[in-house]
Symmetry: C2
Subunit: 344 residues, 2 copies
């Protein structure tokens, strides 16, 4: 049997992006006519068959859930998976996981692979590249073909589906407020330089807490770090100038690096410098001093997302008539501050 | 369509194990004739069809690899997955991951799910329960049907297939030897209470290093810890008695807990107590003091396993004639000591 041609192969052959192929095959007006017709002709010639997801869905249930996450080394995503697994198993569902590695193309290919009949629905968190590009056609396609998708954490307003998020702005606000309550006046925000939406929300929460408390909002105290390796250099200069007396870090690697840097310079945590990190990670728990954190509630997010997906899958099964059940909801999971030794 | 009867259902119906059914259907002499004939008759009556993996393999390639690992929160497995992903992507393969959650049944069900045509081959590390039961029929079945399996880290001698391991005994030996070289005389081994084979090998390496250096092997210094929560209590009593001046811990959570406990008691690391952990984790790097580790080389294990599987898959493709290519190899990945602040 001749191997079926894939989206990827068509894209490579015609030297266009996967997204262009996918949109051309749906006859999207976003793609110029020439390209569109070329892609369609090529696909027809090679007998390209799109996945008949909607059809297969009506006929059988795999009782499997597909998870697509950006990375696995990130402890947060591990905790989300644990939450999903627990609810899935309780309900007799298996779980398969794919990594997008924060790449748009890998996210598209993984969705295509799983949507070929291996699973009943998706739980996913967007790759950074997908968020940056703002191209969500692969998700639209899956949803249009009748396969439910639940997004968590890194979501987009451009797609209508069930979502599970935390209130990143409120969580950042609470953390900064607690630093202000303990008498800190010069609070730095240590964040990443990337395009992830949650970074913006956390910055908003940081700013609002300062302004609500009559403290100045100083752009110089928003410190954008490329990676952990450059963190120490950037921070040590600022610590040398005693530019701040407290830090709110968007991840625990930054937080633990800041504490190590401060210690090397003879500063005491929390006396000279209070530190709070945004994380569900375990480094914070085991570092010396242990680090006060804003919990991301990853396990709760995962179990909530699994509940939403399974409810939708079972409902679909029951109401085969009612095709368009589009009462999508966005669940906001509560975060909480876990106080440890790095704050007063 | 009547749902096809499964191995599991036959086993339940006849009140025998899944393994017995599987072996009876292969006419294994391990199973008594009466049982064998009964199972065969039952399977025939219900029109039992084994997965025709070998057949489907000849006809199509999914270009996907299935990974089955015990858990995901464990940093080691994340690094292995990273290694697999890299090689898989370079060679145009997708990767799907399933978790056994250290459960035998989940491992069997996940393999059955993925072996239904979703993937071309498996990379797997055994669940604790599977190792304890010693029942590997699900793996035998998949291999017999023509689907290659590569095992890593938690492997078994009972299955003939490609394997990637580290020399746990030699790695433990090297760690203990380095503690002895720095003048330590009373070295404790802090380990788990479970049945995982690598635990035994590490204990062997620990013992051999002591004996080779003329140091007494004292059973009391092999400290078996139930979980991290009980670690502090057990350790603080022993530290109080100054029972040891160095520790080799089989994971970093034990190591960091031991260091925290020692610090609370006023002991200095490494002056009063040297600590080495077996891990690829990041807590060791960021803890204060940072912890000397024996690297498990997870990423190397993963990329080696992926190379072995892909070579076998591509070879199969080329030599369709030569059905039985059973030159299985076991690759031993080198470990190395990463010296940090917790040792002299």
């Amino acid at each position: 049997m001749k191997r079926k041609v894939t989206l990827k192969q068509i894209a490579k052959e015609l030297d266009v992006s996967i997204s262009t192929v996918s949109k051309s095959l749906r006859n999207s007006s976003e793609i110029g006519e020439e390209t569109r017709l070329k892609v369609q002709a090529f696909a027809k010639f090679y007998n390209y068959k799109p996945n008949n997801i909607a059809l297969s869905l009506k006929n059988r249930k795999t009782k499997s859930i597909g998870i697509i996450i950006p990375e696995i080394v990130h402890y947060f995503f591990s905790t989300v998976i644990n939450g999903i697994e627990q609810i899935a198993n309780e309900n007799g569902y298996s779980v398969v996981i794919c990594l997008s590695d924060d790449s748009f193309d890998k996210e598209v290919l993984n969705m295509e692979m799983l949507a070929n009949g291996s699973i009943d629905g998706f739980i996913m968190s967007l790759s950074k590249e997908t968020q940056f590009k703002g191209d969500f056609h692969h998700i639209t396609e899956v949803i249009n073909q009748g396969m439910p998708v639940v997004m968590f954490d890194r979501v987009t307003n451009d797609i209508l589906c069930d979502k599970v998020i935390i209130d990143d702005k409120a969580a950042a606000y609470e953390a900064v407020q607690s630093l202000i309550d303990s008498g800190r006046k010069k609070i730095a925000l240590v964040t990443t330089v990337d395009y992830v939406s949650v970074g913006k929300l956390r910055t908003d929460g940081y700013e609002k807490a300062l302004l609500d408390n009559g403290l100045p909002f100083n752009e110089d105290l928003i410190i954008k770090i490329e990676d952990v390796d450059t963190c120490e250099i950037t921070i040590s200069q600022l610590l040398h100038d005693r530019a701040f007396d407290a830090v709110f870090a968007v991840n625990e690697l930054f937080a633990v690096t800041i504490i190590k840097t401060a210690s090397k310079m003879g500063l005491k945590v929390p006396d000279d410098l209070a530190v709070i990190a945004f994380t569900d990670g375990i480094i914070s728990k085991y570092s010396t001093p242990s680090i006060t954190t804003v919990s991301q509630s990853g396990e709760k997010m995962g179990s909530k997302a699994a509940k939403m997906l399974i409810e939708r899958l079972e409902a679909e099964h029951e109401d085969d008539e009612e095709e368009e059940n589009e009462n999508y909801t966005t669940e906001v999971i509560e975060t909480h501050l876990i106080k440890r030794e790095s704050t007063d």
